[in-house]
């Protein structure tokens, strides 16, 4: 089975985010980046499916040159080769634009299965994979917690709200967006890191007529909906005061 996994590079969770001077994005020039977490689960699922059914795993990512870092990481974890769509315009692009960039690079590969994470930690659109399925003209299902493959048919467990699930079947080729927690992630081994250096990365430029569908007019810190009473002092002082407040004022303990 020829499997593609789309991964996004995002600013690490620990990075202290500040709005940039234009107030349309965050200051990320010196930030550290990582693989978007749901995409890491999608990669893991692809590697497991390859181990069960054979074939190859191709990691695909769209973004500026720095995206090479997450590609290397995916190759070190076991992906076989990579497609990287490189453009600075893709760093802050909307889902439709990213999906178009990916689709034009992926179409000729005719993948049997395309996996993505269900959403990204930065923009959180939850739709790049779904739009990609439309552009590739293949069926899709989202928020998947288990994947079964048999005879060009997928049977997948889709998460619904509030602890409910549903099995959905469809023919391949198909696209699935993967929910975090579907599996346990593996880490790259030293051998994997060494092997990654020899793996093929195809770098492509997106079409010049790629245009945004959405414009961020301003990015800002949300107004607080509630006044939080912050309890100050040393850990001991704060703990004593919190216990007093919960007991005497809130009366919840």
């Amino acid at each position: 089975m020829k499997i593609a996994v789309c991964v996004k590079q995002v600013v690490t969770r620990e990075w202290p985010l500040r709005v940039d001077d234009a107030a349309t994005w965050v200051q990320d020039r010196d930030a550290s980046f990582e693989m978007n977490e749901p995409d890491a689960y999608a990669l893991e699922e692809a590697l497991r499916l390859k181990e069960q059914h054979g074939g190859e795993v191709v990691v695909c990512s769209a973004g500026p040159a720095r995206v090479a870092q997450v590609i290397r990481e995916a190759l070190a974890r076991g992906a076989d080769r990579a497609i990287r769509v490189e453009s600075d315009r893709l760093a802050t692009a909307d889902a439709g634009m990213v999906a178009e960039a990916l689709a034009s690079a992926m179409r000729e590969e005719a993948f049997d299965l395309v996996l993505t994470g269900l959403q990204s930690d930065d923009q959180g659109f939850a739709q790049t994979g779904v739009v990609l399925a439309e552009l590739l003209e293949i069926p899709h299902a989202t928020i998947i917690m288990e994947v079964q493959v048999a005879d060009q048919t997928l049977r997948v467990k889709r998460e619904l709200e509030g602890g409910w699930f549903q099995w959905v079947s469809m023919p391949t080729p198909a696209l699935l967006t993967i929910q975090s927690g579907i599996n346990q992630l593996r880490y790259a081994t030293l051998k994997g890191i060494m092997a990654a250096k020899r793996k093929d990365v195809r770098v492509v430029e997106p079409s010049a007529d790629l245009t945004p569908y959405q414009e961020i007019l301003e990015l800002y810190v949300p107004e607080k909906g509630k006044q939080t009473r912050l309890i100050e002092g040393s850990p001991g002082e704060a703990a004593n005061e919190l216990v007093r407040v919960l007991r005497e004022e809130a009366r919840v303990i």
């Binding site: 969770r13 739709q127 959405q214 007019l217 949300p222 509630k226 309890i231 850990p235 303990i253």
Partner: protein, 321 residues
């Protein structure tokens, strides 16, 4: 015209559809509501109570169970023929699956997870969280209509819906649909083996998030829970890592709780978690990041290292009780 796509299952309207109608009514344009499925008379009659121009029922045997292919095809036909300027939905698991594809099929895009609308420079702008709720952005669609947007559950109050003096007209939409083009087949929804823990009944909950750092530290939170007479719970990443079982998860994919006390340890407060606990009477957050979104819903907060604060809390509870 603003078209609201309402959501129903087995004849039961998803109450978030009312929230979307509220969002639509605020735009000052005529509103129509479309709903897809089979046997929609009752749902349509319910929706017709809202002050809207019309309710469209989009009925077809192939829509009796939701499938992404079926709903994309059906609503693409509706949007094309009705030609709304805006198409609004609630950001549910179902619309997350079909609405991006619906917009893409029509060559348009969808702005997801919005919490409000506003007008900036004469453009209708959608306000949505970014970076896990640490920021919000004013986002404007570019290009021609229709513009698609979905609203976060709870962004509007369903009881704020403006009701009409008489029921709105109900129109049956003449849908032609090739059922063989629907590639997904679905099985009935099910729940995993009965939840062992019913967090909804808990009076007090101590919940842990990524800040707990390792499985070996869960015991510390459990000690605090024991000292408070509380149940232990967690945000999704903790259960994903297997540090606590899935039935301890609070949030959109877990349980929705409203205890007297909710004490969040090292939980940043992504919206998927907040929707599951913001109904708690008293919310306390302990987090080292003063900018964490959890402080937006917390009544009391301690900005600090939970590995120092929690032992101090346990000591304080033991000495003072």
């Amino acid at each position: 015209m603003v078209l609201v796509i309402a959501e129903q299952r087995d004849g039961v309207l998803n109450k978030t559809s009312w929230e979307t109608i509220v969002a639509a009514q605020q735009l000052g344009q005529p509103v129509q509501v479309a709903v897809a499925g089979v046997d929609l008379q009752a749902v349509a009659a319910e929706l017709a109570a809202a002050d809207v121009e019309a309710v469209l029922t989009v009925e077809h045997p192939a829509l009796s169970s939701y499938t992404p292919d079926g709903f994309v095809t059906a609503f693409a036909a509706v949007v094309t023929s009705e030609a709304p300027e805006y198409v609004l939905l609630s950001h549910t698991y179902q619309t997350r699956e079909f609405a991006p594809r619906l917009a893409a099929r029509l060559g348009r895009s969808l702005i997801t997870d919005c919490v409000a609308t506003k007008t900036r420079e004469d453009r209708l702008t959608f306000v949505r969280p970014m970076f896990q709720g640490k920021f919000v952005a004013d986002v404007a669609p570019t290009g021609p209509a229709p513009h698609f947007a979905s609203f976060q559950i709870g962004a509007f109050r369903p009881d704020a819906v403006s009701r009409g003096s008489s029921p709105a007209a109900i129109r049956s939409y003449p849908l032609e649909l090739d059922a063989s083009a629907i590639r997904q087949t679905v099985e009935p929804p099910f729940q995993e083996a009965k939840q062992a823990v019913d967090l909804t009944q808990a009076e007090r909950i101590v919940a842990v998030g990524r800040g707990i750092k390792g499985e070996e530290h869960i015991a510390l939170a459990q000690q605090l829970a024991a000292a408070l007479g509380a149940e232990i719970a967690a945000s999704r990443p903790i259960c994903d890592s297997g540090w606590l079982p899935m039935d301890r998860q609070v949030g959109s994919s877990g349980q929705t709780v409203s205890p007297k006390l909710y004490l969040a340890l090292g939980i940043s407060g992504a919206i998927q978690h907040l929707v599951g606990m913001k109904g708690a009477r008293t919310i306390v957050a302990v987090n080292k990041d003063a900018d964490a979104p959890i402080f937006e819903v917390a009544d009391f907060g301690i900005v600090g290292d939970l590995f120092e604060v929690v032992p101090a809390l346990i000591a304080a509870l033991e000495t003072e009780s």
